[in-house]
Symmetry: C2
Amino acid sequence: MFAFIFTTFEPLQYNHYMNYRIGVDIGGTNTQIGLVDENGKIKNVSVIGTRDFSTFSAYSKHLSETILKMCPRIGTLLGIGIGAPNGNIHNGTIEFAPNLPWKGILPIQADIQKLTNFPAFVTNDANAAAMGEKLYGGAKNMNDFIVITLGTGVGSGIYSNGQLISGHHGFAGEIGHVITVPHGRLCACGRNGCIEAYASAQGIVKTYLETNGEKDTNTSITTKNIYDLACNGDESAIQTFEKTAELLGLTIANSVAYTNPEAIFLFGGIVKSGNFLIDPLKKHMEENLLVNYKGKIRLLVSELEEANAAILGASALVV
Amino acid sequence: MFAFIFTTFEPLQYNHYMNYRIGVDIGGTNTQIGLVDENGKIKNVSVIGTRDFSTFSAYSKHLSETILKMCPRIGTLLGIGIGAPNGNIHNGTIEFAPNLPWKGILPIQADIQKLTNFPAFVTNDANAAAMGEKLYGGAKNMNDFIVITLGTGVGSGIYSNGQLISGHHGFAGEIGHVITVPHGRLCACGRNGCIEAYASAQGIVKTYLETNGEKDTNTSITTKNIYDLACNGDESAIQTFEKTAELLGLTIANSVAYTNPEAIFLFGGIVKSGNFLIDPLKKHMEENLLVNYKGKIRLLVSELEEANAAILGASALVV
């Protein structure tokens, strides 16, 4: 009897005082919606197809309905954080996102607030990753750090003086589009030589093909394949990581000269390429650091689990 | 009689409520000390020879005595701001400044506070320039801007969210030591390809000599000479500014990708090379900007007078 009372009371009491956040990760294919408790635990996830809606208003209506269905029955929902490509933190909009089906400026914050009656916040995926690292990850006790996301693109979120740097127009932290190789490779942004053209998944595959003397034809090779090849001692694969680290290490060293962070966190699947990438990256970063910074900047791997990071990061927008 | 009373009372009343700051500009040759009123007017200047003192403690004792002699007799002295090469805003020290006669870490803040009994603050010259631009210059109403100082070296001070970015170790804003040309020219910092090696006064002279096919022997040519040559239609001189602008414009465009400022202010004698530098600089910056920033970032000339800027900037440290 005592045990029964205890087990029914305990969870109720616990939930009653718990605050929750909704984190929304808008991707080109799927939109993931997660209910996150105040300890950074994801309690419930829904997925909707981003491309299943011909208009943006039909999409945001369905997204809002999904969010409302996920509200905790006991506890307080503090708000909704949305991570989206080209999400503008100042305007609450998604602006000209190349991989979404709707063009122009999309009023995501206004739509979701109106349809759910909860406060909503928007930023881009990389800023969300940095906010997640600060709230739930390895940067909890840091005021000055940078998170660099390595994936389809290369993004970043920068914290300084304990605050996310958002910039005058809401577009700070575009380290992926720093031109590291003047007149270099064509980047998806239309310019040449951005670090994204070398350190994104596609950029790494391109370096592997070039190292092998192959033309950049349609290939199904992935960075995971290149990692496996490197593990088997393939020289081209090992060199590919070395070349990637040379350019990314220089870019990271240059980044330190702007905000002098305590640490740089790397986030994304490629970071699991372990020592093939991280070791030469540390070497090239250190080599290129100004003397004031040498030996002082920590190059770390994100402490957020990749599968959860986008939702956690988006939810961290709600403060 | 009325006029007499008015003229004696008015200045007294004015001075009585006036707050003052002392700004100290420590250079390799001279140290300038200025008394600055709350309107950014320099009321009095003293100069001492930086190299006239064999020990740092003799120097800081003389500096403190000079400061105390300059205290306003009517009004309040809020404190002392010190701009120094390698000045560390967190530690209140000057750390390993190559052009000062004393080596190692110099406890300038502690010494001056102890000897004067006024609060003292330290930062490097470029951060002081940015603080001066914010308090007295063209950035009064801006929260996100960068000041780039072009002189013997290339320095910078970065404001974001209305705050100076100081960095975890107190050494943020070293844009002069961003490597723009991998494996490029040897820089004074010992590394290769920093923008300082191209856009400092010495760097510009070197580019002129290279453009002319001359070896970098001892030369007495100055950037002022190169400007005069450009005014007279000298092709090498005009090309020198164009080449400088190409590299500096790229570096500035890359800088925008970090903090997304509203404006970049240029400061230093070379900025007076007017259209020979500024016009191609605007063109190259704009060409290299990511699409999100194109047409949105203002490239401006500092509104501080060069002769006063170092003292004003240092005084702006006192808030």
